[in-house]
């Protein structure tokens, strides 16, 4: 939550401008003026973390958006046409994308279009598609076998209409929970990509790049390496715990009714 609000504030204000370099003040340990110290170019780390949060959140959010936007409809279609050639084709396509780890996709995209934050979004987004497609299909299938779907068919509703009217609201909880998981994975993946230089490029601040810059300095200024890492850990931890909380909240499920 702290990082999200930090990211929001950064649109209006950061303690220091991260594009101004202040070499004389480089590698300071935390002081009153610079709460978390400065990096090798004298930039304020608090400001960098805030701007980095913005990059991470934006990349992860858009990547989840791609995953939901394409994966959920594909999963719904596959479930509605279970057992058909179309279902088979969608699922085989999913398996194929699974064979390309997001890092490999990022490498391919970078090889073709050059590096940039967009690559990270696309690479992570593509990776998210089969994840959402599978979760959607699996959950949708368990509903397709229920009698109320049969009742809707007897009432003359088309598979598309049933998918939207009956299936989607029932699997929405699951998708929300999956989204928080993919969101936190996206933040991790974005950090990894920028760390190896396939993600956001300078001067855009990114947690992964901050770590890459800090690596050579780790022995002289460990705090420069610690802070962005902890930022990632806390963000992801917070998101995962939120996901778990959401699941418990949204999913008292039929289990209660059954026992």
């Amino acid at each position: 939550m702290v990082f999200v609000s930090g990211a929001l504030i950064s649109f209006f204000w950061t303690p220091y401008n991260i594009e101004t370099l202040a070499i004389p003040q480089r590698l300071q340990t935390p002081t009153a003026a610079h709460w978390l110290g400065t990096d090798q170019l004298g930039r304020d780390i608090v400001s960098m973390i805030m701007m980095g949060a913005r990059t991470s959140i934006a990349v992860a959010l858009l990547a989840v958006g791609i995953g939901i936007g394409l994966g959920v409809p594909l999963g719904l279609i596959a479930a509605a046409r279970r057992g058909s050639m179309l279902d088979e084709a969608i699922m085989r396509g999913n398996d194929l994308i699974f064979a390309f780890p997001s890092l490999v996709i990022a490498i391919l995209i970078t090889a073709v279009f050059g590096a940039g934050a967009t690559n990270a979004i696309i690479a992570i987004g593509i990776f998210n598609i089969p994840v959402f497609a599978r979760v959607t299909r699996g959950a949708a299938l368990s509903f397709w076998s229920r009698d109320f779907i049969l009742a809707a068919r007897v009432a003359g509703k088309s598979p598309a209409r049933i998918s939207i009217e009956h299936i989607l609201p029932n699997i929405a909880n699951l998708l929300i929970v999956q989204s928080t998981i993919q969101f936190s994975l996206g933040i991790l993946a974005e950090a990894a990509l920028s760390y190896i230089g396939l993600g956001a490029q300078p001067p855009t601040a990114s947690w992964g790049r901050m770590l890459a810059d800090a690596q050579t300095l780790a022995s002289i200024a460990p705090h420069v390496a610690l802070v962005p890492g902890l930022a990632i850990v806390f963000t992801v931890l917070g998101l995962n715990l939120m996901g778990d909380g959401l699941r418990d909240l949204l999913d008292p499920r039929i289990r209660v009714a059954r026992t």
Binding site: R92, D95, L96, F98, A99, F100, P101, S102, L103, V104, I107, L108, T110, A111, V112, S184, L188, A191, A192, Y195, I196, G197, G208, L211, A212, A214, Q215, A218, S219, P222, A225, L226, P228, G229, I232, V233, F234, V236, L237, N240, L241
Partner: protein, 315 residues
Amino acid sequence: MIRYMIGRVTSLCLSLVVASLVIFTVVEIVPGDPAAYMLGVNARPDTIAALRTELGLDLPTVQRYFAWISGLVQGDFGISYTYRTPVAQMVADRIAVSLPLALLALAITVAIAFPAGIYAASHRGRAGDLGVMGATQLGIAVPNFWFAMILVLIFAIKLRWVSAGGFPGWNAGVLKGLTALILPAIALALPQAAILTRVMRSSLLDMLNEDFIRTARAKGLSKRQALWRHAVRNALIPVLTIIGLQFSFLLAGGIVIEQVFFLPGMGRLIFQAISSRDLIVVESVVMLLVASVIGVNFAVDLAYAAVDPRLRTRS
């Protein structure tokens, strides 16, 4: 069983073909002429043309695809555009680092996750379980490359137990090689171990709710016996799927970890190739990575059949 095998082999071949098509097409659309790029800005057009002929770039697309594929199948990965050495040799050198790294990491993952998962499931809701689950939450949240940096900071820089990076080569002795890989493997493995522990635990808990566990208990088995004799093997089925997926993460994730430890693996090769636009290397290395992921998933499918008799006889 035979039918199941044939089905799997068919889908393996099909995946490989489609994957190779995808990779080839992506690399095809790259703007710019590799030959021109290799020779620099001042090259004369006829030199470029000669190089294009030498590299086979003037052939039609379809023919080049088949040339590439038939080369791959025979172990001929082509000639690097920049280094002018066979790609196969370059790749082989790097695999000698990357593959052991991934395998070592996988071994560590499984070695941690199985006992931890089983322990947590059998102590469900008690302090031990909560401790394991808390640790896995943390493990999942830690980026592996940052964790690697911390490990370097502690074990290499502060304690000086191991060197901070680099790889002495297998010629320096297997032990020396393994020592250089142990920190990277741990860094790579821990987050995956956290995930696998959770999967193992929840899969076991699902099994413990099954009717056949109650039947086993009614035979006089204790809870522990029922868990080991009946739940574990059934729980392995979903766990295997995750292990398959994880191996691909470990292979690819190795690229990142190699950067932290300055290991001369596939990752380094691919970055050099990207920056020098050595596309044939990129193409081949990516294909190799993807092929190994598909291969691992194939192995997982076979492992299913070993664990689950229902697959062997399903007709």
